[in-house]
Structures are given as C-alpha cells and as structure tokens.
Symmetry: C2
Subunit: 462 residues, 2 copies
C-alpha cells in the first residue's frame, strides 16, 4: 500500500487562492488611530506596496511569480502522507492523512510566505527586513529566505523561546541573520516593557512592536517589517499547502475529505491547508474544518471578535479579529508559535461565519499525542503541530465510536527537532496545563473598552 | 527546470546489492583470538544468526523482506536533488546532484539498516538491543527502529558527542530508548577506561566495547548487539540509496555519472551510495568514486590495510581493514560519526583494489563548505556530510578549471539540526584543524605489531 503521495514540481500551484473573494461578508478594513479605515499608503512605512496590494486584494486567484516558484521548488511540493500506523494503533476506521510541511530546510510551513515576502521586498528595492519570532520557526524561515534572496535580516525572538530553544538562533546565524531576545534594549518599545517587568518571558505582541519600530525608524527607508502570520497576504502565500493537498488526495484515491485540521496561533498553517477546502465548503461540500488552539491562549474559543492591535505597543492598525486583548501574555507553554493574543482576520471571520469550528486543547494532551505520533509514525513533531495531532486523534476516536470511515487531513506544520526540551520535560512529568480563569480573560479584554466593533453578518449557513 | 526527482514507493529496490560478490579478490575472513578464521556460530552471542548469514553471504542480490520494505516506505524512496544554486555560486559547468538521506525521521541514512537489523533480531526472538553511537545519528536511528518494531534499546553514546549534542538523547528518549554517555560505569570495559583516564572524550571504539559487553553478559540470552556501520550486512542494507539514485539519475536525464562522493567514518553512507555504482565500474564504466574522511582521522589515506579489532577492548574479531589501531582516539572534531579508527572491510578492500580513491579534508574547509551549502541550497547539513560537500566543491572547481561538464553525485547523509553547536563555534572562529603527526600515527599503529596481515591481490585495474 502506498503511503506517500508526491507531486511533480510541474504540478505546483501557479496561483495563490484568496479566501477574501469568497467569504459571504466582505472583510472589515483595518482602522487607524482615529477609528477610520486606513488607506494602503498609510502602511507604506511598514510594508512594500506590492505586498500591501495583496493585503487588500479581492481577487480570487493571484499569480505566483516564476522566481518564487523556483525558490519554493527547493522543497515543494511537500509530500502528502498517510498515517497508517497511527490508524492501526487507534483501531480507527478513519483514514488519516497529513501534509508534511516539515520538509522545508527551516523545518516548517513558514518559508512558503518567507520567500514570497522577501522576494517582493527585494523587487521593491528594500535592503533589510525585520521581524519577530515565537518558537523560532518564523525567524528561521525569514533568515533562510533572506539568505537565498540576498537581504539583511534582524529577528526579535520572544525571550522564553530564545532560552528554551537556543539552537534556533544558530540556524538564523548560519543563514547570516541577526537574532536577539525580545524584549530588548534595542528599541523604545522593548525598553519600556523591561522597565515595567524585567523578568517578562516576552510575547509575540511585544516582539512585533520592536520589529516594527526598528523598521519604521530606519532613516534610509530601506528597511521593512515582515510578519509570519495573521495578515491576509500571509494566509494567501500559504494556500499552496491546501492546493497541493487537493491534488494529492486524488492521487491517494480519495474523492472526499471529511475533516480538515490545523493548529492555529496567528492562523497561517491552518489557513494554508484549509482555505482551498473552505472554498469547496462555501460551494456546498460537507467538510468539518477545525482550527486548534492551546487552551492556555483561547483566542478563537473564548475571546470576542473585536477590533484590536496586533501588538502590545499599539503600533499596528486595529484589525478585525478574535483577540484576548493586546496586553494578554500567554502562559509559557512550549508551543511558542501559538502564544498570540490575536488571530488572522480571515480565520476569525471564517469562525464568525461558521465555516470553521475551533477547538482548544491543553498542553499535556498535546504532548501525549506527539509521543504517540513519534512512536507510531516515527516523526518528532513541533509542539505547535501536536495540537493538530491531538485533535486528529480525538476525531479518529470519534469515527471509531461512530463506526464511520472518515477521511481526516491535518497539517504537519513542522518538526520538533528544535523543541526537544519540551519533550524531555514532558517525559519526566515536568509539564503542566495552564488555563486562564474567566476573570483573567475578562481583565485582559478590558484594554479594548471603547474600541470600535467590527460589523459582520453571521450567515448561520454552516 | 525540475530539481527534485522522486520515485514512487512501488519503484523501491526489492533486493539489496552485495559488493562482495563482485570484488576481484574474495573477502578475507574475520579472525578469532587464535588468529584462525572464525566460524559463523562464534558470532552467535553477539548477533542473531539471520544477520550473520548476511554478513558472510556471497550472493550478489539478497531479497528485502516485505515488512522491512513497509517500514522503509515511511520515508523512502528519498529524493534525488540537483544543487543548481550551488553550481551557480561556483560557476561550474558540472551538474551536482545529491541523494537526500536527511528526510528520514531520525535525520540520516542510518535507519536504512536500523529497521532491517531490528526486524531480523525480532524475527530471531530477541527482546533487547544494545549499541554505541558517535554523533548520535546511529543511536537515534536504532531507537526509532526499536520503537516501530517493539524492542528495548540501550545506547552508549561517545561522551564528547553526548555533551556537544544534548538533544540527541532526548530524541532517543522520545522513541523510548535509554541513552548514557560512554565510557560509563555500567560495564567493565567502560570502568577500565575511566580508571585510566577519567577525562577521556570517549571514542566509538570504547563505546562498542561497552555495548558488546552489555549484550553478551545478559544471562537471559535475549539481548544482542547492533553496529551502525563497518560490517558487511550494514553496507548491504544501505545499498538502497545507490539503487534508487541510479533510477533517479535516469529521470533527471543523465546517462552517465562521473564522480560519486560520500563521507566515510565506518563507511556505511559511502557504501550505500557508491556500491551499486562500483558494480558498474567493475563492469567497465568510468567513474571516480571518492570516500572522504576527516584529516584528523585519516584511516583510508594514512593507515595500512591490516587485521585489527573494531573496538578498544578487543572484544570484536580481527577484521581486515584500514586501521589506525584500536587504541587511536581521534581529535574531538564535530563530525563525531567519522571519529573511528577503522573502516568497513568492504570499503577498505575496494580502496586496496583501486576501485575507490579516498580523500582527507580538514574540519575548517568542511564547515566552510557547509556554510556555503546552507546559504545557496538552504539546507543545514551534518558535520559528517560536510566532508562530502567539501569534496564535491573541490571536484566542481576542478571541472570548472578543466571546462568539463561533469556529473557529480554526493550523498547528503544527514541534516545538521542536532549539530548547531559546531556551526556556532565555526561562525565565531572557535574551531580548529587537527592533523595527527606522522609520529602519532606510527605510535598508534604499534598496537597491531605481531597481528596477522590480510593477503589480497591488488588488481591495479582501476
């Protein structure tokens, strides 16, 4: 029985898919400090105009430039694999597939957008990129992309992950990038946080503030900021994952897929796999599409759909999204890439409209799932990915109880070879679950008092 | 232009290729303590009989059991990739291909034999396996295989690597194996070394002694020892690499290959790629086949072809091989997997007969090559693999000088994500070259004074 399905490079998608064109309600615009929609050129100090155009595009399909295709072909198309041994261990009638994004040199799905963003910046005449990173997947991916394309790169890495995953910075150095822990004294935003709380573990929200400040204060005008998730153009670049997976499921002989699963921090790996299938769902297909988040950072399952800043220092525009409030500092779980107070507006809106049905899972269940995956399928996955695997196991057990031959597809967003500290702690019983109390959530949400609320029609169709 | 060449699982080789059947001279037998050839059943306390049969087989082709094929298909066939961006950076007319063995879950070629050895042991009724590991690639691979097949596993890891690469042991734990630094106090052999030299960095030779002692002293008789390199059956299992590569070169449109390159410690990744091509060379093809070793452990380039023990405590039979003497402790280079005093008898004999033309390269040139590879091809390779890349760069530059369109194929034996300490040290200028003086080599060779010498006809044909 074949368990891996490869596509030839010639079959790589030639266009990205833009879910914004198909959502029942139009996307709500980002708002400026005055509460009014911001125009594309207000973003120009932060992003190059060619990416801003993608950010606001309503086109359903956007051509992938040939040079980006060439860079992607270093590791793409990624394999679709069937988890036969996991199925057997669970005794489930479900057929479990995963899209293996860990095969990229930095080890995750992140380079799909990193090479695209670096390429568009280079086209626009930019010389240097800044960014933040949580677990280090995104920072490594951007360092990798900048190395291939020829740009300078500075990465602000959330301090707790910087300490937990020391080798991530060496990867970035190997690709020629600079990487420092955030909050840092290199920016005003970082310095302010350190003054208030010298022992802070840091957060993605803080690191974003630092990276934006670095970009917009460069007087040469040749530095721009990049974000590894959340924004529309990032979701767009990731859709190659789902577009490839559709072709590969056909190769595997599957006519339908019942459940699509991806972990969700800022939303990009979930979006990358699911959006092309969401398009089918909008057109009538019956598919359960599940973003999985950590119970310690329950953005989609416990936070409202609001207008909020993407960062703690309120340097980003207000984005329409599920948010726990820009001051929320998530518990120090090992899935650093999921420690984010907000969520992609596109994913958020898909949840509001009922297209996606989110799930929150605790850290211990996720590591248990990761260990089971390692001992059946042989692969050591990232703690972020373990959320998708835990949800997959839940759904496969459900299929067993129901006696249904479901087809489940999840996104294996990255390997865990840089996250072995987490495995060691789990194996030795040193990890804990964290769930914010209702009071903590409410307190965090207060920072958005008085903020405008996005208006959106709930279709109730799904 | 296509740069990755995949094979369908259905095209996986169904038989292993045994070079022993085609070498001009017959292999010299291993010798016992009395200097007489040892019989297969003298090896029975150490290895199961089904593997001993493979060890001494003269059959050209040996069937791969279907269940082993299934396990291999978790990651095989591995991709053949073309290093276009490296070619461009070098400005060479050579076409450079590599077989990417880093795609296995443990990250190297080692699982090719680990799953085979674990499977044969399980068939033979064995419950527990012991082994040594240098850089940790082999130990991880065996832990992975034992996890999939259901065997207990204990790994003695060379101390310097245990310290340099702390996460390797966590990988082994994740797959359920035990891993301790060697020399250890768990064995008599380890204790003796520690008594003599408490600060020893350890060596593969010492760790082998410990793992064998552990296996043969288990009174239940259900423990056996496994070796990740050197032995004939290990080379055999690795030949899937070269057999796949041949088919993939055809897919890439190449009719001939001019140069085959693999790094060589015990010889297994080199053998895996090169033996199927060596068969062509024996039958008249013009191919340069290069095993690359560290200049700090110059087994093939500076040591004689002799009978020597595979381990420091002289627990193994005498093997006919190039050896620096079983007491030789190589300098603490980062390519831990190449720190071995001996060499596969099959590879050694191939060198004596002129089939293979070895090359020795220093650590700094290798890391320089690895950095160039990371910044052109995007992949961070193992320090062991960097020897193959450094040799590839030398040959590609040679092709440029000669203006020849050569086809070069090297084995990318593993990724370097567990070896980032080495990269960090190199980037910060903290690494050094090590070359033993002629006097040091001669002193090390003295331990073999009075040992029998293998007799072998040098064909002088190549």
């Amino acid at each position: 029985m074949t368990i891996k399905f490869f596509l030839d490079e010639k079959e790589m998608p030639k266009q990205w898919y833009n879910l914004a064109a198909d959502l029942p309600s139009p996307m709500q615009p980002p708002l400026g400090p005055d509460g009014k929609p911001i125009s594309p050129d207000m973003l120009a100090p932060v992003f190059p105009m060619n990416l801003i155009e993608q950010e606001v595009s309503q086109e359903r399909w956007i051509d992938i430039p040939e040079e980006i295709m060439k860079l992607l072909s270093i590791w793409r198309p990624s394999p679709l694999q069937r988890a036969v041994r996991l199925e057997q261990a669970l005794g489930t009638p479900a057929r479990i597939y995963f899209k293996n994004e860990s095969v990229s040199p930095p080890g995750s799905h992140k380079p799909n957008t990193a090479v695209a963003q670096a390429w568009y910046n280079k086209q626009f005449g930019i010389k240097r990129l800044t960014t933040e990173t949580g677990a280090g997947q995104w920072g490594s991916a951007l360092a990798f992309a900048c190395s291939l394309i020829g740009l300078e790169c500075k990465v602000y890495m959330v301090r707790i992950s910087f300490d937990q995953k020391p080798f991530r910075k060496v990867m970035m150095h190997t690709w020629g990038a600079e990487c420092i822990p955030s909050p840092s004294t290199d920016t005003k935003a970082g310095q302010e946080v350190l003054d208030r709380d010298p022992d802070t573990p840091g957060s993605l929200g803080i690191a974003i503030s630092e990276a934006i400040e670095d970009a917009v204060t460069d007087e040469t005008g040749k530095t721009r900021y990049t974000l590894g998730s959340v924004l529309n153009h990032v979701m767009l670049h990731q859709t190659v994952i789902g577009l490839e997976a559709k072709k590969q499921l056909k190769l595997a002989g599957e006519k339908n897929v019942d459940v699509i699963i991806g972990c969700a921090g800022g939303g990009s790996n979930f979006a990358g796999l699911s959006f092309p299938f969401a398009s089918d769902k909008i057109n009538g297909a019956k598919i359960e599409i599940i973003p999985v988040e950590p119970a310690s950072c329950p953005t989609l399952t416990r936070a409202p759909f609001v207008y909020d800043h993407g960062d703690i220092a309120k340097m980003t525009p207000l984005l329409p999204m599920h948010s726990l409030g820009h001051d929320f500092v998530p518990a120090p779980i090992h899935a650093g890439g999921l420690r984010y107070h907000g969520m992609s507006p596109l994913v958020s809106q898909g949840v509001v409209e009922g297209l996606f049905t989110p799930m929150a899972i605790q850290q211990l269940e996720c590591f248990e799932a990761a260990l089971m995956f390692a001992r059946t399928e042989g692969m050591i996955i990232a703690p972020e990915t373990s959320h998708a695997v835990a949800a997959t196991i839940r759904k496969a057990r459900e299929a067993k109880e129901e006696g249904k031959e479901k087809v489940i597809l999840f996104n294996l967003s990255g390997h865990g070879l840089m996250d072995l500290n987490g495995y060691e702690s789990f194996i030795h019983g040193k990890l804990a679950d964290y769930v914010p109390t209702q009071e903590e959530v409410e307190r965090a949400l207060k920072v958005m008092n008085g903020y405008p609320r996005p208006e959106i029609r709930k279709t109730g169709k799904w």
